[in-house]
């Protein structure tokens, strides 16, 4: 596949902070590359380095065979993060304004229809809802029918229906050969749109692959979550710690398990279990007369990948786990409730 966007060991620092610490990637024609990562990971800096709006300290970038500074602007469509266009223009006037900057612009009304705002063309930008405003902003990137589309968090603030309109739009553009780089915090968006997904953390691209590859490699196995009410739960602040479910109770199950407990429930997570094996766990619980209030099976997804990988950098930065599947289980697993307490 012809590489349309190429980053080679891109580096960019702000003071002591390495926003980009040697990022390399290659995006092919018609490919959608979704960039995910925590706030401050360097996503926007990477977007800026690839669009010529920041000058990297090291490394190089190529877009359509040229440096980002010299690439033919008529072939590029960019939506910056937190972009706010002139707000006393109507949606149609805004698109006409940006269309007027290009050699062969599209009809603004056609672009309005593409972003699902055909009925809002005469409304001033400032009077549109937040989601509609963002869709107009997405529209400004389409007025020149670009070959390369760079969208920095394009669906932030857009309602689910509008988000799907944008998703379908991006998919149709990619099908027609447009190369798309987008950043997002929406894992469903990355999973649906991304032919490949890159996870950026602390300025480094720590994982790249198709969503399926990333899930297989990093997200762990499918899991069954069983919520078991804690016997004689006492929610008073000065109450004794709850008596946890004894992990040994589940020793006969053929699956790895994690147990965590709070005042009212114990959560047992049974790992590496397929849907067809759920019945065996139900039978196991019934045979031991263990009451449960909820039984939920889940396939791992990109969010698990994100939490697994990004959480490691969060822990390294803050010393606290942010909710990663593995780390959380390890951190919150209840051991002996009397450990550390003085004997009466």
């Amino acid at each position: 596949m012809e590489a349309v966007v190429v980053a080679d060991e891109l580096q960019r620092s702000y003071g002591d902070t390495d926003a980009l610490a040697g990022v390399s990637l290659s995006i092919g024609r018609g490919e959608v590359f979704a960039l995910i990562g925590p706030n401050g990971a360097g996503k926007t800096t990477l977007v800026r380095a690839l669009t010529g709006t920041t000058v990297p300290d090291g490394g190089s970038a190529r877009v359509l065979g040229n440096s980002p500074e010299t690439v033919d602007r008529d072939r590029l469509g960019v939506l910056p993060q937190d972009f706010s266009p002139p707000d006393r223009l109507t949606a149609r006037e805004l698109l006409a304004y940006y269309a007027g900057l290009y050699e062969e612009p599209r009809d603004p009304d056609a672009v309005l229809a593409d972003v699902g705002l055909a009925d809002a063309g005469d409304t001033w930008y400032e009077n549109l809802s937040g989601g509609q405003q963002r869709r107009v902003c997405v529209g400004t990137t389409l007025v020149n029918d670009p070959d390369v589309l760079v969208l920095d968090e394009p669906t932030t603030g857009i309602d689910p229906a509008g988000r799907r309109t944008v998703w379908r739009l991006v998919e149709s553009l990619a099908d027609a050969g447009t190369t798309v780089l987008l950043t997002t915090h929406d894992m469903a968006e990355a999973q649906r749109l991304g032919d490949r997904v890159g996870l950026l953390a602390d300025g480094e691209l720590i994982a790249v692959g198709t969503p399926e590859e990333l899930v297989t490699t990093h997200a762990g196995s499918s899991r069954l979550t069983v919520e078991i009410p804690t016997p004689d739960a006492d929610t008073r602040a000065d109450a004794d710690p709850p008596t946890p479910v004894d992990p040994a109770t589940f020793a006969d199950l053929e699956y790895p398990i994690d147990v965590r407990t709070n005042a009212e429930t114990s959560t047992v997570v049974v790992r590496e279990i397929s849907p067809t094996e759920i019945a065996s766990v139900v039978t196991f619980l019934d045979e031991r007369e263990i009451e449960y209030t909820e039984l939920a099976w889940a396939e791992p997804d990109l969010e698990d990948v994100y939490l697994e990988l990004a959480d490691e950098t969060e822990v390294a930065r803050t010393g606290r786990a942010g909710g990663g599947t593995g780390a959380t289980m390890a951190e919150t697993e209840v051991a002996d409730p009397n450990e550390g307490r003085e004997s009466p």
């Binding site: 010529g52 920041t54 602007r73 960019v78 939506l79 706010s84 223009l89 006037e93 290009y102």
Partner: protein, 260 residues
Amino acid sequence: MSRLRRIRAEANADWRSFVRRRTAVFFTFFFPVILIVIFGALVRTDPGSGGGGGLFAEAPGYYVPGYLAVVVLFTPLSRMGSEVARHREGNRFEKLATTPLTRGEWLLAQTVVNAVIIGLASLLILALVVVLTGAEIVFSPLLIPYVLVGVVCFCGVGAMLGSYTDSQDGAIAASNAIGLPLLFLSETFVTTEQLPGWFEPLMNLSPLTYFARGVRAATFPEAGVGDLAGLEPALGNLLVLTVLAVGFFALGAWSIPRTD
């Protein structure tokens, strides 16, 4: 030409944005009007009385460049300063940097809009000055290039202010801090004789001085503005102002941020 189309698109968007801000439109024209009413009608000029002293001791026609300078100087400084700051805050320059529009084209489009606004305000000012103060002036065609070149010059300065201040508030404060001294120390309302001798070379550093001297030479010949470098004062000062305008415009365009 695509360049012209880009400039037209930018200017069109800026014009619409401006005229839809009614308070901005109102005060853009109200500011010079209130100044003429205060200085021209209330304080009034009083040439010759009491030995010709005081702030407004010259004939009313002498102050025409000063009244015009109010809009030629302040409107571009404050509008461009805040416009650049607004563009920075909304990441609009980041967006524009990825389009074919260049920084020079953007500034030129903004300058065209400012020229139209200031041209209209200047007509209003000239009419009011004549009506309210009884100024007897010559309506020289050179007024048009003076206003245009002045707008170009101060749009460049305003763009620099917006680029080097970190907010709209900062840009407006900076434009006031720079504009007020320039307005009163550039041979507009205060004559050279009213200032210390050592200050005159500093007046020659202000672009507004050449605007004031040139406009005065063109509209109020009785003022006796001296030749400049062997040229008639109206043309010589226009030449100097043009050179300064080209320089400040280039610096203003260069200072507009394209990268973070």
